[in-house]
Amino acid sequence: MQIGGKISFFKLKARNKKNLFSNYTFVFFVILSITLIVLDKKKSINSSLIRSNIIDTIFFTKKFILSSLPNMDKFKLSFKSKNNLLLENKFLKEKIEQNNLYKLKSEKLEIENNILKKELSLMPPSKEDYVLVKVIADTQTDYKKTIIVNAGKNNNINKGDTALTSKGLIGSVIEVYDSHSRVLLLNDINSKIPVRVGKKNKKAIISGNNSNKIDLLYLKENISFDEDEVVYTSGDGGFFSPGIPIGQIKKENNYFFVRPFNDSNKSQYINIFINQFKNF
């Protein structure tokens, strides 16, 4: 194959090339693809079982290969100077002190919050459990916004559980495999979440559109919002606990949309809220 050469792109000349494949083969594979689409859409084949086995196998193989490679961190560490280590140690100690202070503050706030909730009889009869998981594959495409995390049935994760970070809601679990799960992100076109907006608790439903501007649906006529009002989950329908922050209202050419707090492209660790509230 010659790289470079005379530019003759616009020359239309038929070359006497042999066919790469027979027409029957091509037709057979096209029909096979269409049949697979129809069977999958009609749920005639258990695609979630196939996905579960293949995804677990892929990530198990990746883990196995990575674990058999030599650990480069050890080599890197041996090149670190004593001064660097001392500085790092000092920095880490400061961080621990800072974190302890935050922990104390948050514990105090949690106790206060629980007392107030009890006073208001708002305490849901649920056990709140979080599982911290790592995002191991970003499987977002132009038309599907999902990520894969490294916990599944082995960590009691169920379909419909809430995925959130310290900033707020990021999505919900849509498929659970043996040791992995798939999270549908807020901005996916199939994501619909009941919300309330701002201090006046205006209700709406947010719907993703595969971009980072989330639409607000089912609003009353002539309703208006202030910019930067915070959008929370309303808890309607019982799929999400109420009061989880989602994003802020933004306005562009008289069009209101929600800008999520979380940037799904940057999230590395997320919490899966094993949501007992939906059984309430």
């Binding site: 194959m1 003759s8 096979l32 697979l36 977002q140």
Partner: protein, 168 residues
């Protein structure tokens, strides 16, 4: 024994490059360098052009189904896009492709862009409404356009080093 292994490695090399591109895009390409589901077209295009015998349809079907499983697309949608692109390649190959890299490059960009639109069309049908075409759509075409010559160059070197033409 070793010559057998070498032989099987050689004949499976084109298929391996396709699977390598799938897993490279899944594990190593971050959001900035997300090549999309049509990334394996780089390898399919090269091997169809140089050694179509070594890239049977069932390999393309399996590779595309793996992508459907990973990216949660309806099973069969990615194979359908690739088979339509191969059909176009077959027709296009007879008229346009000359042994000039510039022509191949433009042919690839044209096929890739058509593939992106077929993907968009299929997904719009599944969602029962026309989906938004955002800047990411154009960015993916741009990114793949830029990286195609690099991949082509490396595959070409490997192809020549392995002497696939002579020995098989």
């Amino acid at each position: 024994m070793f010559s057998d292994i070498k032989y099987y490695l050689k004949i499976s090399f084109p298929s391996l490059t396709i699977f390598f591109l799938i897993f490279f895009n899944l594990f190593f390409a971050n959001n900035f360098f997300d090549f999309g589901q049509l990334f394996i077209l780089h390898a399919i295009f090269f091997w169809l052009l140089n050694f179509p015998k070594l890239i049977p349809f069932y390999i393309i079907l399996i590779a595309s189904l793996v992508q459907d499983i990973i990216y949660l697309s309806p099973l069969g949608s990615t194979p359908l896009v690739f088979f339509l692109l191969i059909f176009l390649f077959e027709k296009y190959n007879k008229f346009f492709l000359e042994p000039s890299f510039i022509e191949l490059f433009f042919s690839f960009v044209a096929l890739f862009t058509i593939g992106m639109f077929i993907f968009w069309g299929i997904n719009s049908i599944f969602n029962l409404k026309p989906l938004l075409i955002n800047i990411d759509f154009l960015y993916k075409i741009f990114l793949n356009t830029i990286f195609f010559p690099i991949h082509y160059f490396f595959l070409n070197i490997i192809f020549k080093k392995m002497n696939l033409n002579k020995k098989l």
